[in-house]
């Protein structure tokens, strides 16, 4: 599953080399080797990776993702293991004809290939205090929820998994059946899937947390319905494949408090890109408003929030902005940079 895609400009995407390349190893990078590849469903390739030197791999919370260095780009894929003392990392990747080349690159991997990755990152972890975990997966969105289900079994947490998929296209079904038993509801017919989700949102015991991953329309529907039914935001957790396409936005100016510099941000150029162009580095990862890495403090001016990371309350506070996608309502946006 692709959660984020890390190339800034569309023009570079077309040039992305789909063949595996070995990049320069930097600090904190994991050097991995492909142990096995198999087909999990139509168009879905499961890749198992081990430490290239046979060494131990970092543990991770359930629902984490691994950022693979795919040739000239970096793509994030959900880890399907439970994350406790992992001997290997496994990702399952759907081949996307209209994607940006990362899935094609993964589908080209062969056993023995060398792969670089960042350490696993957690943005979709189970809540330890939950009394019940309701897992909702649409299509290839099953991958982080397979991780959740494994962890829930391991730690004997109360859970249920609703899995909606196109008939014949369900990935990981045999292991899910064995893992979950009656806690797995297979729902290959869309109306059945929607009815099952609705029934759970209407009547889940207090203490339930929802974890949903799938197409954007499915996640939006879950969020909207949960909100209507009085679910607090803290109980509803979603993992998106990628952010929606955003309009180019109006031009504005970033005013940097510490240096006193003024950086123009033209329409069609992100604040992050403009800052980088002006020689002002900002830590960043996904460049899609998902990961939260590029958060910058706002000292004056009203941010135009377009990210998926900040909560509604944080957005209303207006004191920080995810500079990869968000812009400014005002002509000037003063930043704590």
């Amino acid at each position: 599953m692709t959660t984020t895609s890390l190339v800034p400009a569309a023009s570079e995407l077309a040039q992305a080399d789909p063949s595996p390349t070995v990049a320069v190893t930097g600090p904190g990078l994991l050097s991995l080797r492909v142990q096995a590849v198999e087909t999990a469903a139509d168009g879905v390739r499961t890749v198992t990776l081990t430490g290239a030197d046979g060494g131990a791999l970092p543990a991770h919370p359930p629902g984490s993702h691994l950022v693979l260095h795919c040739g000239g780009r970096r793509n994030a894929y959900s880890l399907t293991g439970c994350g406790t003392r992992p001997r290997s990392y496994t990702v399952s990747v759907l081949l996307l004809g209209d994607g940006q080349g990362g899935s094609r690159w993964v589908h080209g991997l062969q056993p023995g290939d060398h792969v670089l990755a960042d350490r696993p990152r957690s943005a979709f972890a189970p809540v330890a205090t939950a009394r019940h975990h309701l897992l909702i997966a649409g299509g290839i969105g099953i991958t982080p929820l397979l991780s959740h289900a494994r962890a829930a079994r391991r730690w004997q947490r109360s859970f249920e998994l609703l899995y909606g998929y196109r008939p014949g296209a369900g990935a990981h079904l045999p292991e899910l059946r064995e893992l979950c038993g009656p806690r797995l509801l297979e729902l290959p017919q869309l109306p059945d899937f929607l009815a099952a989700v609705e029934a759970r949102l209407v009547a889940s015991p207090v203490g339930t947390h929802v974890y949903a991953c799938g197409p954007a329309a499915m996640l939006d529907a879950v969020l909207e319905r949960a909100d209507e039914l009085g679910w607090p935001q803290e109980r509803v957790h979603t993992e998106r494949f990628s952010a929606a396409d955003l309009d180019p936005g109006a031009p504005f100016r970033a005013v940097l408090r510490r240096s006193g510099r003024r950086v123009p941000v033209p329409s069609g150029v992100s604040l992050l890109t403009a800052l980088e162009g002006a020689g002002v580095p900002v830590p960043n990862l996904c460049r899609q408003g998902v990961c939260g890495e590029c958060r910058v403090g706002v000292l004056a001016g009203a941010p135009l929030h377009r990210d998926l990371f900040l909560s509604d309350e944080e957005k209303a506070a207006g004191d920080s902005v995810m500079c990869c996608v968000s812009r400014s309502e005002d002509p000037d946006l003063e930043l704590d940079l």
Partner: protein, 178 residues
């Protein structure tokens, strides 16, 4: 950690409004002063067609009522509790223990006539009318405790520790009395 980072709750002067998205609610009044606020919440719930389960009484009655309601509640439920701070904190701690999240618990504090102080050395809880920053004798181990500006949401109590911990025997044997 300075006082500007305190976890001591800052209670708003006005009672929080009834959440119109609630699908059911429990309303608890823990003292006579809390009754008008609780009545207003119940009325707002009734006007919105939301089933409201109310209880006016002491802490033990309120906790029993809360336990019974939460056992059968589905997500969409809200708790509205009004009363003295010490009791409100204990009700909120119980609701949290049973799985409630922050935005599901709406609280109105009518006053702070007393505080519960948890001794980090012996785990005893002492009720006191000392202010934050004051000194209170622990009901468990008898040591003088500094009433620190930290409130545990989980335990519903203020943190207390020895006022003179640093001047004592460096071996520290007296510090662990539990």
């Amino acid at each position: 950690m300075g006082i500007e980072h305190t976890s001591v709750p800052r209670w708003p002067a006005d009672a929080p409004p009834f959440d119109p998205r609630a699908r059911s609610a429990t309303v608890l009044a823990l003292c006579a002063d809390a009754e008008p606020v609780a009545a207003a919440w119940a009325a707002a719930g009734g006007a919105a067609g939301v089933p409201v389960s109310s209880c006016t009484g002491d802490l033990e009655q309120a906790l029993r009522h809360l336990d019974a309601d939460m056992a059968g509640a589905v997500v969409g439920w809200r708790l509205l509790v009004a009363g003295p701070e010490a009791e409100v904190l204990r009700v909120r701690a119980r609701a949290t223990e049973l799985g409630a999240v922050g935005s599901e618990v709406l609280a109105h504090v009518t006053g702070v006539p007393s505080r519960r102080v948890l001794c980090v050395h012996c785990d005893a809880v002492t009720e006191t009318d000392e202010p934050v920053g004051g000194t209170v004798a622990c009901a468990g181990c008898g040591h003088d405790l500094h009433l620190y500006h930290h409130v545990s949401r989980r335990l519903g109590a203020y943190l207390g520790f020895l006022t003179d911990a640093e001047e004592r025997d460096p071996a520290g044997a007296v510090l662990e009395t539990r």
